[in-house]
Amino acid sequence: MSLAKTKGYQQVLDWLKKDDKKPFKFQEEAWSYYAKGYSGLVNAPTGFGKTFSLFLAVVIEGINLSEVKDKKRAKDRLQLIWITPLRSLAKDIARAMREVLAELELDWHVGVRNGDTSQAEKLQQKKSMPEVLLITPESLHLLLAQKGSSTLFESLKCIVADEWHELLGSKRGVLVELAISRIKGLQKANKKQHLRVWGISATIGNIEEALDVIEPDTTAKRTIIKAKLNKKIIIKSILPDDIETLPWAGHLGLKLAYKLLPIIEKSKTTLIFINTRGQSEMWYQYLLNIEPELAGRIAIHHGSIDFELRNWIEDALHTGLLKAVLATSSLDLGVDFKPVDTVVQVGSPKGVARFLQRAGRSSHSPGETSKIYFLPTHALELVEAAAIKEAAKENNIESREPVIMVFDTLIQYLVTLAIGDGFEDKIIYDEVKNTHAFKMLLPEEWSWMMQFITSGGDSLTAYQEFKKVSKDEEDGLWKVKSRQIAMRHRLHIGTIVSDAMLKVKFLSGGYIGMVEEYFVSKLKAGDSFTLAGRILEFVHIKDMTVIVRKSKQKKAMSPSWLGGRLPLSSSLGTVLRKKYNEVLNKTHQEEELDVVYPLFLVQQERSHVPRNDELLIEMINNKEGFHLFAYPFEGRLVHEILAALVAYRLSKLVPITFSLAMNDYGFELLSDIEIPMDDAIAYEVFSPENLTEDISLSINSTEMARRKFRDIACISGLVFQGYPGKYVANKHLQSSAGLFFNVFSDFDKNNLLLRQAYDEVFYQQLEEPRLAAALHRIQQSTIVITHPKRFTPLSFPIKVDSLRANMSSEELEHRIEHMKVEVFK
């Protein structure tokens, strides 16, 4: 029977007709493929009912089956698991789903399960699962960590990973892959396999690969459904009246803030995206200072603001109560705020996909044009704006590289299963081996991991006292017996690692949000700081909660939250190089480049403006030391490796110590002695020869792997992070990732987690083909070496960057002789 003739399809169609709507073509395609048993990927922009393309597919089948099936057991109800990356999405999607179910008179329940769900509700769900469960990847693993969880998925028909492009490039995507592999395995063991797995993704460069990750079985029925709908986007830069207004470096952009006021005024509601939480707090204060009338009509939204407060802001956005909301990536995704008609991006979004996604947050309805303003925070960002415009026009959108071979995540997963119903290693090995992330897993790596969680990592000395996972004598499954270990593990399920966070609460009651423990440790009673746009006075810390009262001060510092800095994507880098050519040639169309032209004249006068076929190296000496700047325009991550590589190769020529800094345009080597450099040396240190070997040697001599290990140690359970409000103080077991890194380096060189740290630098950060391509390009280029007397518009932003690494070929003792100890003054 064709789908169109079924009862479910007719019912859905009738309901749509009532509102004068009809399904989009891609929705009907999705319904029909789903009915035929396909798994797959739906590629559609936000605002075109991508949710309904899959939700209704499951509903139609549900209606069609409802007559056939007799009364289900209470536990057997779960039909659809809907995975969302953000908690805030779940609430709105659940609301929309419930409305549809009510209209269609289908007696299904929609449940939400994530960090914000109350304990009582979770218990209720355990007794009787709802038909539709909206969940985050972490909460899905927490579900697997429960006793009796393996019986929950018997009647499950479909798993949907929403915003799959967001999850894909992170370890959270691996969590999804692993959970799917287990649920499939459970159904296989029960001989009732009816699970279909679907992803919903915005446009990315590697959409086919995205399908391989979510449904790795190439023999399964798989398809990609593309919505052929074009959304019009207008991109407009907010330009300074003259380039002098904009600083050469910086990240706030407050100087142009006044130009935002008329935009906010004439729009219904404006979403202002700011790259970090700390900066969004500063912007909020600043906007109120220059336009006091905005008080009460603007709000601030980021991940460290309390759940209740965020809820209020989201509701106010729906109802159009707010004139503007300052947001970080916390509002990047999905949710549909009808009154939002204008979006502003402050500072470079660093990638085309992210920029388009944010632009899509305005005028959410199909057919409308989205408008996004770009507000530069420093002069060179205007060139980035021009590059983004071009990349967006040509639909030159980045890929999201899926994460593979992350042993930390796999170790965490195995312990998760062990505190749930336990696992049989042979079965789980097969399941894991069939995921995209671990298809290259070797049997010896698997046994190393089993040993790591059962005997503590040693093959030779099996220590009696190591207790984590052990074999249950009765059923032969691997389990965690210790309740303490189980409890600690549950608190740390997930792959998002942040510094220990403390909740912030008013003396009189009421939560405001969270700040990092490190920030609080610097506060004295009476100090003021801003959070959620309020100025707060620090009173004291009690029970792992920061107690504050309202401050009378007008100005206060903003907390900094450690977030990763976004690197420029490679597609943007290429366009950016081209734009640099165009500025001086005056062959460009973009008004941004006209504005930035005087700055390029300064660059040309002091040094040189690099063309597409040139690599510029600037040698600058001043009282700080001897600087070498080079500008490959390959993005921060590649520059970090390239800087280490060039420093390493130079340090082979003379004993020398470098301090390294980089940004998206180039990198700096700084030394206290003169850096050897001429044309011949330049071509040699940028040579693609011996690349692999030299890179591993240079990675070994910097701290890059050690930094990666910070996350690995947390995810694999070696180090505990505090957990907001649930901090388990256990002084005897405190240590740091750095300490484990040293100890493994000295005593356990074959530790796979240690290897992973190096691999993460090597494969994820490095993108070796990209680096090799860059070096080949440089070999073909003319290398231009200049000796400017002063810093140039290109070098200045790198010089002021504070994140630095070291590289040295001098003897330690020799180095110390030149150095001074920091003393109390």
């Binding site: 790591f452 503590g456 990592g457 040693d458 000395t461 220590y463 009696q464 006292e465 190591f466 207790k467 984590k468 210790s482 303490q484 270990i485 700080e624 030391g625 001897f626 110590t657 470098f658 301090s659 700084l670 030394s671 206290d672 359970g717 070696l718 005897h732 077991l733 240590s735 740091s736 750095g738 300490l739 484990f740 040293n742 100890v743 493994f744 000295d746 005593f747 356990d748 630095r804 070291n806 330690l812 003792e813 180095r815 110390i816 030149h818 150095m819 001074k820 100890v821 920091e822 003393v823 109390f824 003054k825």
Partner: protein
């Protein structure tokens, strides 16, 4: 490196120990024996060879300086008795002529009897020589005429140079009021100290002790 404090010679060893030739005494602090095994018991995978390597380092020191007394300036045992400590007991058998002295630290919570069985002499709160008062936490020292030598904080020092360079090391600290010696165990972190301008700090590098 040999230094002179209160007219007495002290030898600072890169293995993170102090030798007093006058007393034939070797002093170390924060040995944290059993820390690795304690972690393993809680399901944290600390390599089991770690504890052995601390003891090997101590053996080398003992054969180099041939002291009469080995003083542990607090935090000898991390927590309870465990296999690491069984191993220590076996290791100790070869030093029957050596006097083991423990100045109690905040981690040393075993019963009197257990120390006695291990052949360790307990001193609380301090062990004094003619010039020095060995005590775990310097602020608790009540000996007014002696110079306190303490442990407890696992001291480290940052040094800075031109061109934005910086390095971090475990260190010996000889301040105006008291001294702190580095933690002996390799499985310990560092707590950075900032000396005053006229105070002395000696960084411990892998190959030697260097004044900074």
């Amino acid at each position: 490196m040999t230094i002179t404090i209160r007219d007495e010679e002290l030898i600072l060893a890169k293995e993170r120990a102090i030798f007093l030739p006058n007393e034939q005494l070797l002093a170390i602090s924060d040995l944290h024996l059993g820390k690795a095994a304690h972690f393993r018991k809680a399901g944290l995978q600390v390599p089991s060879t770690l504890a052995q390597s601390d003891l090997n380092r101590l053996s080398n020191l003992l054969s180099q300086y041939q002291p009469e007394t080995l003083l542990i300036n607090g935090d000898m045992f991390h927590h309870d008795l465990n296999t690491d400590i069984d191993e220590f007991e076996r290791w100790k058998e070869q030093y029957s002529n050596l006097k083991f002295v423990l100045v109690k630290g905040n981690h040393d919570k075993l019963h009197e009897k257990q120390y006695e069985n291990l052949g360790i002499e307990i001193h609380e709160p301090s062990y004094c020589t003619p010039n020095f008062c060995f005590i775990h936490d310097a602020v608790k020292c009540t000996e007014e005429n002696l110079y306190p030598i303490s442990g407890h904080i696992h001291p480290g020092v940052s040094v800075y140079g031109k061109a934005k360079q910086s390095l971090k090391f475990p260190c010996f600290y000889f301040g105006n009021d008291y001294a702190v010696i580095p933690a002996f165990s390799a499985f310990t972190g560092l707590s950075l100290i900032k000396p005053r301008a006229n105070e002395q700090v000696y960084a411990v590098t892998p190959t030697k002790v260097v004044k900074v």
